[in-house]
């Protein structure tokens, strides 16, 4: 194995640059080093001005998503040795506006997330005095997969529909809506469907399936979206056949 590998890193300064440029850095190639370790080596030893987000370095906080050789990846869980001999292209997550270097603007997602009401909705007002809501392991299992989303935004970066139509509410948000719909403690499916049945809701998706493929936590947002389409289609048929009160 060679002892170094070249990173081709996107640089962008909002104050001056006309657009992003590529800067090359050679970093040590060690078997235990991730792409993030390479970037931190640059930041600490070579170029202190490089900007990127990171925190937990164990694939759970969701901060360090970037496009590595064109694929959305968590850089803390992507090893340099898998790209040897290099070079490795490190770019900001696709489909998002670039704020600075490898940092993208997540405002859009943060604004969309509350729209799908990702919290438990119930009409009774049971308090903790009444004890826990019972939930069997099977009921837990029904939504568990969709509760694993770390909001890393890799699915948005992989989704061409989101790239072409930023109004599309997107894979992670829909997966979270499905997570609460499937939770036996929740009664809010109706409210969420009202949001997602809109054009920029689930119908935006044309089932590319890339979101599920790139998800580092195996959440399967594509599956969630397809289930929602089924629900929405059923709802449309019911609306056509029955008066509202009967539904």
């Amino acid at each position: 194995m060679a002892d170094s590998i070249r990173l081709e890193v996107t640089r962008y300064r909002p104050e001056g640059d006309s657009g992003p440029e590529v800067q090359e850095y050679d970093v040590p190639l060690r078997k235990e080093w991730t792409v993030l370790d390479g970037l931190n080596h640059v930041k600490d030893e070579v170029d202190t001005t490089l900007a990127f987000r990171w925190s937990c370095r164990m694939g759970i906080c969701g901060s360090c998503g970037m496009n590595v050789d064109g694929e959305p990846k968590l850089t803390c869980a992507t090893f340099l040795s898998d790209y040897a001999p290099g070079p490795v292209r490190v770019e900001p997550l696709a489909n998002f506006p670039i704020v600075r270097d490898l940092v993208v603007d997540l405002y859009d997602f943060m604004e969309k997330l509350p729209r799908v009401k990702p919290w438990i909705i119930r009409d009774d007002d049971l308090t903790v005095i009444d004890g826990e809501y019972l939930q069997t392991p099977e009921e837990l299992d029904a939504y568990k997969q969709f509760s694993m989303c770390i909001n890393c935004m890799l699915c948005y970066a992989a989704c061409p529909v989101y790239g072409l139509d930023p109004e599309f509410i997107g894979p992670a948000a829909i997966a979270l809506a499905e997570r609460y719909d499937l939770d036996s403690r929740d009664r809010g499916a109706r409210e969420r469907l009202d949001v997602l049945i809109e054009h920029e809701g689930v119908w935006g998706c044309t089932f590319v399936g890339e979101c599920t493929r790139v998800c580092p936590k195996h959440v399967d947002p594509a599956g969630a979206i397809q289930r929602y389409k089924l629900k929405a289609a059923k709802e449309n048929v019911m609306a056509f056949l029955l008066p509202r009160g009967a539904r």
């Binding site: 104050e15 992003p20 506006p97 029904a142 061409p160 399936g209 890339e210």
Partner: protein, 129 residues
């Protein structure tokens, strides 16, 4: 958020050639046109049959012209793509449970092909009896 000049990256017209999955996706979108073509084709057949023996013969002759044959072969390929991708996504779209356990995706997909075979056999029997 307006104070910083963020950079929006343009999306290339050829974005769908960048990844095999994107390409398949666009082909699948395209396949809808051929599904529609087969509907039209079927309606034309029914119309011809309804107008009598001669019209039906004319339709068969037209259907045997090379360009119609080529078109139908291409359309069939797209239809196969459509069916295969459609069947493959079913396990994701439907949460099929057998005695509380999530049914394996392969089982869901396989049962659709069995269903397709049964329906095809029935249609074949209907037509050839």
């Amino acid at each position: 958020m307006t104070e910083v000049r963020v950079h929006h990256r343009p999306i290339s017209t050829w974005w769908w050639t960048r990844k095999p999955t994107y390409f398949v996706f666009v082909m699948r979108e395209l396949s809808s046109i051929f599904v529609a073509w087969f509907v039209v084709y079927l309606l034309m057949l029914v119309y011809a049959v309804g107008r009598g023996e001669a019209a039906y013969e004319d339709f068969l002759a037209w259907a045997a012209t090379p360009w119609v044959v080529v078109l139908n072969v291409v359309a069939s390929l797209f239809l196969v793509l459509h069916v295969v991708t459609w069947f493959n996504l079913t396990p994701q779209a439907m949460d099929v449970r057998i005695r509380g356990q999530k049914a394996p995706a392969s089982l869901v997909v396989a049962s659709q092909y069995v269903g397709l075979a049964v329906v095809s056999a029935f249609v074949l029997w209907l037509v050839t009896r």
